[in-house]
Subunit: 427 residues, 2 copies
C-alpha cells in the first residue's frame, strides 16, 4: 500500500460530529442494490480489460476477478461510480482529487495496470461514445491563449515546484547515464547531453525557446561558454531565472526575455527548445520551424525535446483540462511539420521514454515527502490532483503510452555536423 | 579534370572516315546563330543560379560568368541544348549518357555545384512547367510491378556489381567509424552498427526484408549467432546469396527466400530491412509496418535503413526512369506511416547522409577503375549512364538533397530496450 494512501481517510466523516457519513457505513444495502452495484463494477472491470484489481463501492459491493488483487479502487457511492462511468477519462481524475475515489495499493502500479489493460480492451460502443462526447474544445494557443495556458500551470508558485523538482529546477525529462543515477545527476547529465548534441562551442550564440526556470541557459553559458537569449512567457519563471543568473554572475552571458517564441528575432548558431513543444499546438509547428530556420545561418543546428506519442492522439482529457491546458504531445509525423516545410534536416531522434518514467518516479517520491507542505500551500484536493498527475505520468511513460523525443536538426546544407554520435558517449 | 572525362572523345568522329563531324568543327557559325546560342546558354546558367561553370555549344558559343570556371559543360549542338532545356531533369541524363553533353572537370564537383545552385535559384515558370510536364507515371509497386522494377536494376549481372561494390557486395550506405575507413571496413562496421542497434542475442530469430546479395544475413548469423530468414525478389541476388551461404557453411542458419516482403510469415525476435524501403512505395508503408508488427512479439524490435528526404518530393526523374524504376526516397513524415498505424515506437533515428556520400565516392572510384570491364560487358553509353548516376548520388548526399535514415523501432510495450545508446559506441 502506498504510504500516502494509508494515511488518507478511507471513510468520510461528518465535519461536525466526526462520525462516519451514511454511505460509508458498512451496513449492508438491500440485496437488489448490491446486485446492481456489482453489475456496474463488473462493467468498470471489463472496460479496463479485467485487471487484477478489486473494484468496490465504499462499504458496499465488491468485484474482483482474482483472489489476490493488486489493489482496491473504491468509489464513495453508486452515484460517484455512475458519474465516472459516464465520462471515465475526465471524471476519474476529478473523483480521485475529491476523495470520492480512493486507491489502496500502489497508485502507479494500479495506473500502469489500467493503462496496459485499456490499450488492449475492447471498448463497448456506449463507453466510447461517452468518451467522445467528453471531448471538449481544446484551449487555443494564440499569443494570448498561450499566456493564459502557461500561467495556469507554471505560475502556481516557484516554492511549490522547488519542493519536488530537485536542486536543478528542471521540469523536463532527465537523462540517466545509468538507472541508479540520482535526479540531480540525471538532470545535469541531460543538460550535457543536449549541449553535446548541439556541439556548442565557446563564443557561439544560442536562442532558447521556452526556458523554464532558466537552468539550461545557465548551464550552457557556464560549461560551454556560449551567449544565450532565452524566451519564456511565464512571468514567475522569468523573474526566478533572472534573479538566479544575477546571483550566479552569469547575467552578462544569459538574457531572459519574457516573450513568446513567435517573437524571437536575431541570428544564432543554435536553436534549442526543451519541453516547450507540448504547449505549442500542432497547427503552429510550421511557424515554430520557420522561426528556427530564420534564426539559423548555414552552420545552423538545433534541438527540440518534447513529450510525444507513437501515433496522433489527444492528451488524456483530465490532464489537459486540470493540469496542462492547451497541451498536446505530438507523433513524429506531426513533429516533422516543424522541419519539412523549411528543408531542415533531421539528424538524430532519441526516444527517452524510460528516462521520463524514472524522472517522474523521482519527482513523485519527493512530492510525497513534501505533501504536508503542499497541503499547507493549497489543500488536500490539490495534493491528490497533483499526485494523480505525477503517478499517471509515470504509468503513461512506463507503459509506452507517451514517448519522449529529442530531435537534433540542422540546416539542409550544413556539412559541419558530427561524423558519428560517438562524441556523445566519450567520457 | 576527371581522369575519365580526359580520356573520352570531346569531338565526335565520323565512324567511317574518322574525321570530326560537322557540328564539332571549330569553324565559327554565323554571328546571328552564335548570339542565339549564347542567349540559350545564359538561360541554362541562370536556371542553375549562375554557377562558376562554362556552358558551351561544342565548337561554338561559350558563356561563363567567371574568368576561372570550375568546369566546362558542352552540348553537342543547339538541338541537343534545346532538347535538354525542354525537359532538363530527364534529358540532361540521357544527353550525357549518349555523349551529347560532355563535362570537362570533376563531374561530382559540377553536379554538387548544380545541386546547390538549383536549390536556391528562382525557377522561371516556363521551365517549372516543362519540368512538371516531364513528370511521368511512376512504375507501380504491385507484386508483379515490384518484380519488374527490381529485375531492371538488380538482375543486370552480379559480375557487374562485384566490380565496384567491394568485397562485401553490400549495396547500401556504409558506416565509417572515421572518415578514413576503407569501404570494406565501413560496410562491416555498418553491419555491426545495425546488429548492435537491434541488440541481437545468440539463439534469436531475425527476418530480413530485402536482403541484397545476402551479406547482412550471413554477418548476423556468423557474428551474433542468430537464425535468419531473408527475403528478396531478385532471382540473381538470391542465387548468389544461397551459393555463398553454402560455401561459408551457414546454410543451416540462414534461409534465403525468393519472395516478396508482403508474403513474410512467422514470428521473429527482430525485423530488419536495409535498403529495401526505397522500392516499397509510400502507399505501401502501412502494409510494411503491419507485417513488421505481426512478425514481432512483445519483445520485438526492428530497424529500417533507407534513403530519405527532408521533405516529400519525387526522385530525380532521370534516375527513376533509367536507373531505379519505382523508387521513392521518403521524408520522415512519410516513413512514420510504417510505424504509427501499428503503435510501433520509434526509438532512434540516425541520419547518415555524409556516410552515403563517402560510400558513393568509394564506389565511383572503383567503378572508374573498372570502366574498361564495364564497357566490355555493356557499352560506352552504359558506362556514362552509371557514372552519372553514381556521381549524381554523391552530389545529392553531399549537398543535403538526399538523406539516409536508420530507424530503430520496437513494439509499444517493450521495456526491454537499451537504457542508453552508449553500447553502440563501446569498443
Amino acid at each position: 500500500m502506498n504510504a500516502v494512501e494509508k494515511s488518507l481517510p478511507e471513510v468520510r466523516k461528518h465535519p461536525a460530529t466526526g462520525r462516519p457519513q451514511p454511505e460509508d457505513l458498512d451496513a449492508a444495502p438491500p440485496a437488489e442494490a448490491r446486485s446492481t452495484d456489482r453489475w456496474l463494477l463488473r462493467k468498470v472491470s471489463a472496460f479496463l480489460g479485467a485487471p487484477p484489481i478489486e473494484f468496490a463501492i465504499r462499504g458496499g459491493a465488491r468485484v474482483c476477478n482474482t483472489s489476490e488483487p493488486l489493489a482496491r479502487v473504491s468509489f464513495a457511492s453508486r452515484a460517484h461510480l455512475l458519474a465516472v462511468l459516464a465520462d471515465p477519462w475526465m471524471r476519474f481524475g476529478d473523483a480521485y482529487s475529491d476523495g470520492n475515489v480512493t486507491v489502496e495499493g500502489d497508485l502507479v502500479e494500479v495506473l500502469e495496470t489500467v493503462y496496459r489493460a485499456s490499450a488492449t480492451a475492447e471498448k463497448p460502443s456506449w463507453l466510447r461514445r461517452a468518451a467522445e462526447l467528453a471531448q471538449h474544445r481544446p484551449h487555443v494557443n494564440t499569443l494570448a491563449g498561450s499566456r493564459d495556458n502557461i500561467h495556469h500551470h507554471y505560475d502556481i508558485g516557484n516554492p511549490f515546484y522547488s519542493l519536488w523538482l530537485g536542486s536543478t529546477m528542471a521540469y523536463t525529462c532527465a537523462y540517466y547515464p545509468t538507472p541508479s543515477a540520482t535526479l540531480d545527476e540525471a538532470q545535469t547529465a541531460k543538460m550535457h547531453h543536449v549541449c553535446r548534441k548541439l556541439r556548442l562551442r565557446a563564443g557561439e550564440s544560442v536562442v532558447e525557446a521556452g526556458c523554464g526556470w532558466g537552468t539550461l541557459a545557465l548551464h550552457m553559458a557556464r560549461h560551454y561558454g556560449v551567449r544565450v537569449r532565452a524566451f519564456n512567457i511565464s512571468h514567475e519563471q522569468v523573474a526566478y531565472a533572472r534573479e538566479r543568473a544575477a546571483r550566479e554572475g552569469l547575467a552578462g552571458q544569459v538574457e531572459y526575455v519574457e516573450d513568446d517564441y513567435r517573437n524571437i528575432g536575431g541570428h544564432y548558431d543554435a536553436f534549442v527548445s526543451v519541453g516547450m513543444l507540448e504547449h505549442v499546438g500542432a497547427k503552429n509547428y510550421p511557424t515554430l520551424g520557420g522561426i528556427a530556420r530564420r534564426c539559423l545561418g548555414s552552420n545552423g543546428r538545433g534541438l527540440i525535446h518534447s513529450i510525444g506519442r507513437n501515433h496522433p492522439a489527444r492528451l488524456q482529457p483530465w490532464i489537459e483540462k486540470r493540469i496542462f491546458p492547451g497541451a498536446y504531445p505530438p507523433a513524429l509525423s506531426e513533429m516533422s511539420q516543424i522541419f519539412e516545410p523549411w528543408d531542415l534536416s533531421v539528424l538524430d531522434v532519441e526516444n527517452l521514454r524510460l528516462h521520463y518514467a524514472q524522472t517522474l518516479r523521482h519527482w513523485l517520491a519527493l512530492y510525497e515527502g513534501a505533501r504536508e507542505q503542499v497541503r499547507a500551500m493549497f489543500d488536500e484536493k490539490f495534493v491528490r490532483m497533483w499526485r494523480l498527475y505525477l503517478a499517471g505520468s509515470v504509468a503513461a511513460f512506463s507503459t509506452g503510452t507517451l514517448q519522449l523525443f529529442q530531435v537534433v536538426f540542422a540546416t539542409a546544407d550544413n556539412n559541419d555536423i558530427p561524423w558519428t554520435r560517438a562524441h556523445l558517449y566519450a567520457s
